[in-house]
Amino acid sequence: MLTGIGIGAGNAAGPAARLAPAPVLSAPRTLASAEVPGEAAAVRAALREVATDLAERAATVTGAAAEVLSANAMTAADPALADRAAALVLDGTDGAHALTGAFGEFRAALVAAGGYFAERVADLDDLRDRSVARLLGLPMPGLPVPGHPYVPVAEDLAPADTALLDPGEVLALVTERGGPTSHTSILAKALRLPAGVGCADAGALADGRTVLVDAAAGTVATDPTPQAVTAAAERERLRRERAGRAHGPGRTADGEGVGLFRTEFLYLDRAEAPSVAEQTDAYRTVFAAFAGRWGGGHAHAVSAWGATMTWWTWTCAGCATSWPWPKSAASSGPPAACT
């Protein structure tokens, strides 16, 4: 029995499948000249095979996962990358370090570009690890493809992994690290999967071993008895039945509510982040409109904020009326139609 932090609701049992760790490079080696042509060909082949593998997987999925896989396949197939890695091999660098060096140059340029570009280094790192693993004949890092429903077991899930998780194949999540607000936990809640995060001993779980993940208890039982699995499945069935009975619009105890305050709209359609003063001004304008309105009447929610910051859409939480509201009218507050 492993103990961690339970995330999400319910429980699920299934075979564990580990995410292989990234390959660890040994010390760099200078190639003998006779080795160079073969090593250069092997480096190119490794990149090509990683690209083919990702493209094949992209064809089997849809949506965001397909887009991520296609873009990564295109990057792995990039001629500039292969040429650079091959050039390093021609200089006598061994294949694994040549691949790492070539990816490293693109990586450094993305980091230097900053912001959104810098976030893409996770994709390059993943491709580097996959290419090196392919070249050295090591297990492929990242999500396993066992061909049946499974419970991924990882040190922690990378954002790239979570984008590619197939909710139809994944029964539950188990990680050694992470906490209630980590990436894995957010994903588990979004996919309504039970998860055990921060299970320090999960590293010892072997592929194929049956685990029973209980989100409420925060436990991961290893090799549960068939009776325990059946009992847990019955609890899960009842839980889902109860959850299925709850329907209709949500409401707060006092009948008032303000919708999501979509502050991210302030960041759209511009190159630089808004200043603190600008944000303070924008928030104050919104909150001023609510002055004295918290206790009675219909609450109003900003449901959409024009990307150009010249208008908002207001939706009345009481009667669901929506109307655009020009910024020029900010000082007068929302229309009084249904307050």
């Binding site: 990057t75 990039d78 693109f106 570009a113 570009f117």
Partner: protein, 51 residues
């Protein structure tokens, strides 16, 4: 001005072109003009906008 081969996705990314910056697209060979015009039209619209 910095340049990168358009057939290399990571090279294009490492240009670090940000919102509002100007791009110069160039191509040569058969169909070059149509290719550049199509690309320019693609870049000119808001790629993040809902279609």
């Amino acid at each position: 001005m910095r340049g990168s081969p358009a057939r290399s996705l990571p090279s294009v990314l490492t240009l670090g072109a940000k919102h509002g910056e100007s791009l110069v697209l160039a191509a040569e060979g058969e169909g070059a003009r149509a290719a550049v015009e199509e690309l320019a039209a693609l870049v000119a619209r808001d790629l993040d906008a809902q279609e």
